[in-house]
Structure formats: structure tokens, C-alpha cells
């Protein structure tokens, strides 16, 4: 707030900081995803995840709408997040952050992607189920911490969607709580921005169906769209490289940008990695 009691104009923000409209839209989309998720949690049963997801679509009143609202708000969250992450680099936000804070922000990127991923697994259709199996196999390949990470996030072969679902819930609250207090002020979220995002998600949910993938004898099942890049890379390289090192390189480069000595390499690496991951994703989606 300035001395005149009015909010600073967007133009003055742009000079040094990221676009506030997109940033608030990101927060609003995440909030809509959280609230719509709470509605879905009631009829959802983790003991019969697929049947309850089908029930949400076909039996539960307004279940269809809230599921789609949840899906599109999460989708927009990821879209805005990628834009926000790129814009932060453009606005040199790393120069105004301590190493610890920059690390936390970088990790929050990974965390939100994992939240989105476990959301796909939780619905337990063919896409989610197989994505869960792949993720479990990959996490077990991580040396030393693999089995603990798998126990925290997946363990789908043993426990079905129990852990991915709990992680999906807990991590969502954690991200909202931590970033809503330290990264942005959730209570300052402008009502217009929330309304606009709600309108956009609502329109998408009203107009576009969100299908489920029925089990069947498929030779090719594509995972969630942001996972297709890894899935495609797994065709061309061993799992340790394609499933662990390759996806981990993105956040590592992003984190490395903060240090002037390696900034150029990190930025170059990040651009190259993004193009490669995007290329793999596109190729996988068109397959």
C-alpha cells in the first residue's frame, strides 16, 4: 500500500517484479483447486478410488462439475506456475532471495508438480494407475532414499492410492499454508482476481468434459501431460537417466541460477532442458 492508500499500479511492479495479475491468478487457481478438492474429498473413497471417481462423474450431485473445476483449476495452477517461474527468472527475482529461500521456492515447484501427479494417481483409472506404477519403480531406483521416498509418496503396489492421496491432501495444505504466509499474502488476494479465475475455471468445467481412462488391453497409455516428457525419455534411455537424472536437472538448473559464477551455464542448461523436455512431451503426446 502506498501513502495515498491506493494499491501501486501494475506498471510500477513490472519494472522490478513479476506481473502481479498472473501471480495472483496462480494463487487464486490454487485456492480454487483446494476448495473444489475439499468438495470432492467427501464422496471420494481411497478404498475404491476408481469406482468413487466414476461415481463423482455419474452419480454424485454436482460431482461432475466439481471434478472438472478441480481439474481445470489445477491445470491453470500449473500453467500459471510455469509462467511465474519463467517470469521470476526474467525479473531476476533470484537476486532478491537468500539461498535458502530460493531453494524453498525451487522445491515448491517440484512439490506442486508432485501434488498434481498424485492427483492423477488418486483417480486410479488406467492413466493414473500406470503412472503410479511407473513413478513407484522410478522412486525405488533412487539410491539410499528411494524406498523412503516411495513410502512417503507412492507405494501403490502395496497400498493402492492411500499414500498418493494423503500426500496430495497434506502437501496441498502445506504449500498453501507456507507460500500463503511467506511467499505471498493469501489474505490480500484480490476478490476480482479470484472471481476471474473462478469464472475461467467454471466456464472450462461447464463446457469441457474431463474423461477417465477405462482399463483395457492398450499397448500405449499416456500419463499426465506434464509426465509424458519423462515417459517418452524412458523409451530412449535407462530409467536412472531418463526417470531420475533428466527430470531432476530442471530444478537443479533453476536453483543454480542464483549463483553468478554458474548463472550462465545454469540458464543455458535450463533453456536446453526445457526445450528437450518440451520436445519429448510434444513427441509423446503426438505418438
Amino acid at each position: 500500500m502506498n501513502s495515498g492508500g491506493k494499491r501501486p499500479k501494475a506498471a510500477s511492479f513490472l519494472r522490478y517484479r513479476v506481473n502481479p495479475r498472473v501471480s495472483w491468478a496462480l494463487a487464486a487457481a490454487f485456492l480454487v483447486a483446494m476448495i473444489s478438492g475439499l468438495f470432492l474429498a467427501y464422496p471420494f473413497s481411497e478404498t475404491a478410488p476408481f469406482i468413487s471417481t466414476v461415481g463423482l462423474e455419474n452419480v454424485v450431485p454436482f460431482g461432475r462439475f466439481f471434478r472438472r473445476l478441480h481439474y481445470f483449476s489445477a491445470w491453470l495452477t500449473l500453467g500459471f506456475l510455469f509462467y511465474h517461474a519463467a517470469e521470476s527468472l526474467w525479473a531476476k527475482a533470484y537476486e532478491r532471495r537468500t539461498a535458502g529461500r530460493w531453494l524453498a521456492l525451487t522445491l515448491s515447484l517440484v512439490l506442486i508438480l508432485l501434488i498434481a501427479f498424485t492427483g492423477y494417481v488418486a483417480r486410479w483409472d488406467e492413466t493414473g494407475r500406470l503412472a503410479g506404477f511407473i513413478a513407484e519403480s522410478l522412486s525405488l531406483k533412487i539410491p539410499y532414499v528411494g524406498k523412503y521416498l516411495n513410502g512417503l509418496l507412492f507405494m501403490v503396489r502395496e497400498g493402492g492410492v492411500h499414500r498418493p492421496y494423503l500426500f496430495h491432501l497434506y502437501a496441498s495444505f502445506l504449500v498453501l499454508l507456507i507460500s500463503g504466509i511467506w511467499h505471498f499474502r493469501l489474505r490480500r488476494l484480490p476478490a476480482e482476481d479470484l472471481g476471474l479465475v473462478l469464472l475461467l475455471c467454471g466456464l472450462l468445467a461447464f463446457l469441457l468434459p474431463v474423461g477417465l481412462h477405462a482399463p483395457g488391453p492398450y499397448l500405449l497409455v499416456k500419463g499426465p501431460w506434464f509426465f509424458v516428457g519423462i515417459q517418452e525419455a524412458l523409451r530412449h534411455a535407462p530409467p536412472e537417466v531418463a526417470g531420475l537424472v533428466f527430470p531432476a536437472l530442471g530444478p537443479v538448473f533453476y536453483f543454480g541460477v542464483r549463483w553468478p559464477r554458474v548463472r550462465e551455464i545454469a540458464l543455458g542448461g535450463l533453456v536446453f532442458w526445457s526445450l528437450l523436455y518440451g520436445g519429448f512431451t510434444l513427441y509423446g503426446l503426438l505418438r
Binding site: 476408481f50 469406482i51 462423474e57 455419474n58 452419480v59 454436482f62 462439475f65 467454471g202 474423461g211
Partner: protein, 414 residues
């Protein structure tokens, strides 16, 4: 701006309410015996028979579509009415958990390729020199390849093959073709006005007779039907009183084959490898034929290619055959030790004596009118050239015998 936003949100909320109010929700999530979800059952009450019972095999397993929604348009997207069509059979009947490998076999069978018919036509019309040339209806349909003999095939013969989509052709031809369902489908009995047909392994003679009623007229004679001179006599009440086939041909009743009289169907003798193919691409019928009279009547229990006959039972020295359609145990007569084993009869095929009536069609000729058009049954388009078949006369007499591969056998003109 703010007012507009809230107004739009309000309108959206109203639209969502209306859409939800109009949406016909399912009462519950429907699952099959296997635990898989099939929401088609929320609307569809059809019963396709025991083997594919409702609640066991899901509608979408065969027909495609989306079984996870009750929204009609989305649920029906990508559906096929006849999943047994050979174009889809790999994904429906032939899916790994159902009948894997069968569509590949059937596609190579003569009922699917018509290779024998095509090759013989082209060979005798002087178009090819190889009696065992490669030929397939599917290729003709795909490529549009034609010639004089092929044009004849396309317009007159091209309705009796498994690649023909069911209900594609008009009139009585509607019932022909359809891939696996050409044989395995029998009319359903309900519920509803258009009951789901039943899928069966007990193939009735009518299904075979839908195609095997020309040339040798084997399925007609088997049932005791003789395609006569086509006068339609006797005339009753000013119209033809003779029994009529679906395609308008008149038939007379004659004594049926003893096997038919005993309640046997074609599939009681003709094994799966013959009808559905054994995976090999044969050029002619006699190469794919397996069953012999001796397989049952001598109690061999195997076809000449070694395929076992599980419905043949030998008990206390007696040979019995369990009829597949009725389940009845039928006694099988052993060959007459005097007549059949007599050295002078050693070259006789069984049917040289036992086939008393063989319809014989003499003076068969065809005419092509180049100025007129006719429906090409493979491309489903009218193309120039009208083919008509004529014959001089039909006879139902003791068959002519002749030598074929060292055996005295029945020769049938037609």
C-alpha cells in the same frame, strides 16, 4: 468491471444448476462380475446370451465407446454396432482376455478371403495361369482392383464373405456378412422391441445356409430343399404356392440328409479348423476340408488332419455322437462290412453311393450388358456393366460319378 464479473459468475452458477438439473444421473456405479466399471448398464438392459451375459462381459468390451460415463454423446462416441466385423474383431472378439488369435485365423480362412472362388473364376476365364494364385476379398475391397472376372465376382458373388459389413447391402443381403457374427449370431428374444441378438457356438443350419445355398446347394439339399425349375407351382389363390427362399427362389421339399433328420447341424461334422481356418491360407475348399466320413463312422475320432472330435464318444464298442445343438446322443452306424469293404468298392468315396440326390444345374451361362449399371457389392457403388445368370434346366437325379484324385466321386455341374 466488477459488476460484470459478478454478473457473469451468477449466470454461470445458474447455467451449472440448469445443466445439473437436466442431467440424468445414474443410480449407482455399475460393475461387472470382474469388478470392472460399466456405466452402459445404467441405461441398457439388453441380454446378449449366456456366454456374453449382461454383467459379465461389458457392453464397451465389444462395442467400444466410453463405459465410464452416462452422458449419451460421450458414452456412444467411437462405438461400433457390429463389433464382430473383421475390421474391429482384433479389438473386440479377439482381445487378449477373450478370443485371442481367432480373428487372424478367420481372416485367412476361405470364408473371409473367397480365394477359391476368385481364383477359379479368373483361372477359367483366362485371366490368370496359376490355379493357386493369391486372392482376397479384403484386397479387392481396399484396392478396387477389377477385371472382367472380378467385375462378375464383385457384382454377383461378392455378398458371401466375412468382410461384408452386416446390413450394408439391401434386402435379403442385409443379413449376410458381419465377420464372426455372420455365423455366431442368432436372433434374441427380448427384452424390448429390438432385442440384442444372442451369440452362440451352436451354429444353426440357417446361418450356414445363408451363404451355402448356391453352386452345389449343399445347405439346401442337406435340409431337404430342392431349387426347382422356378415355376412357383402349384399356383394357389392366383399366386405362387411353392415354398420360397428369402432371395425369391422357389424350392421343393425332398427327403433331407440323414444327418439333418437325426438333428445334426453342419458344425457337428465340420470342425472349427475347417470353418474358422487353421491359420493357413488355403487356395481351395478341398485343401481346408478336414472331416471325413470315416472320422465318425469308423470311430477314428480325428479328422484327416488329426483334429480331435470331442463330441464323438466310443462306449462299450458303440460309437455315439453328441449333437452340438440339441445335446442328444446319437448312435453312429459303422460301415456295412460287405458293401463298403468289398474290394470292388475300394476306390469309391462314401458319398458316391450314399448321396442319392444332388441338384444339377445345366446350361449355366452369364450375360453382361455393358450399357447398364449394377451394384458392386465390394465397393457398394453402382458401376457400369450388368451381369445376369441364366440356366437351361435343373435336375434332381442320381449324381454323375467321375474320378478325382484316384477316387470315384460325385461330380456336380452348377
Amino acid at each position: 468491471m466488477r459488476h460484470l464479473l459478478w454478473s457473469l459468475l451468477f449466470l454461470l452458477a445458474v447455467a451449472v444448476l440448469v445443466k445439473e438439473w437436466r442431467f440424468k444421473r445414474a443410480e449407482k456405479v455399475y460393475t461387472l462380475a470382474s469388478g470392472r466399471v460399466d456405466m452402459c448398464l445404467a441405461c441398457h438392459k439388453e441380454t446378449p446370451g449366456k456366454a456374453h451375459a449382461r454383467g459379465v462381459v461389458g457392453c464397451a468390451d465389444c462395442h467400444g465407446g466410453d463405459p465410464l460415463t452416462v452422458e449419451k454423446a460421450r458414452a456412444h462416441r467411437g462405438m461400433v454396432k457390429n463389433p464382430a466385423d473383421l475390421r474391429y474383431a482384433d479389438r473386440s472378439c479377439g482381445r487378449p482376455e477373450c478370443h485371442p488369435g481367432y480373428p487372424e485365423r478367420v481372416k485367412k480362412s476361405l470364408m473371409a478371403t473367397n480365394r477359391g472362388i476368385i481364383t477359379i473364376l479368373r483361372y477359367y476365364w483366362g485371366e490368370i495361369k496359376d490355379f493357386h494364385a493369391e486372392a482376397s476379398v479384403e484386397v479387392l475391397m481396399r484396392t478396387g482392383e477389377t477385371s472382367t472376372a472380378l467385375d462378375y465376382f464383385r457384382k454377383l458373388c461378392g455378398t458371401c464373405h466375412l468382410w461384408l459389413p452386416k446390413e450394408k447391402l439391401p434386402g435379403f443381403l442385409k443379413k449376410k456378412g458381419g465377420g464372426c457374427s455372420a455365423c455366431h449370431l442368432v436372433p434374441g428374444k427380448g427384452p424390448g422391441k429390438n432385442p440384442h441378438p444372442k451369440l452362440t457356438r451352436k451354429i444353426p443350419v440357417e446361418n450356414c445356409a445363408r451363404c451355402h445355398n448356391r453352386s452345389g446347394r449343399i445347405a439346401l439339399t442337406y435340409q431337404g430343399l430342392y431349387e426347382d425349375e422356378q415355376y412357383g407351382a402349384p399356383i394357389r389363390d392366383g399366386t405362387f404356392g411353392a415354398e420360397e427362399l428369402e432371395d425369391g427362389r422357389f424350392v421343393e421339399r425332398i427327403p433331407p440328409d440323414v444327418h439333418f433328420k437325426a438333428g445334426m447341424s453342419c458344425v457337428d461334422c465340420h470342425v472349427q479348423n475347417e470353418t474358422m481356418g487353421d491359420g493357413k491360407a488355403y487356395a481351395h475348399l478341398e485343401e481346408s476340408l478336414e472331416i471325413t466320413c470315416e472320422a465318425c463312422h469308423e470311430g477314428l475320432g480325428r479328422t484327416k488332419k488329426g483334429t480331435p472330435l470331442p463330441n464323438l464318444i466310443i462306449k462299450n464298442g458303440k460309437i455315439l455322437l453328441r449333437a452340438k445343438l440339441t445335446g442328444k446322443l446319437l448312435p453312429v452306424k459303422r460301415p456295412d462290412p460287405v458293401a463298403c469293404r468289398h474290394p470292388v468298392h475300394r476306390r469309391l468315396a462314401c458319398w458316391a453311393c450314399h448321396d442319392r440326390r444332388v441338384p444339377q444345374c445345366f446350361g449355366c451361362h452369364v450375360r453382361r450388358s455393358a450399357g447398364e449399371k449394377q451394384l458392386d457389392k465390394l465397393s457398394f457403388r453402382e458401376t457400369p456393366g450388368l451381369w445376369e445368370e441364366f440356366r437351361s434346366y435343373m435336375r434332381l437325379e442320381n449324381p454323375t460319378l467321375g474320378l478325382y484324385r484316384g477316387r470315384v466321386t460325385v461330380l456336380v455341374p452348377g
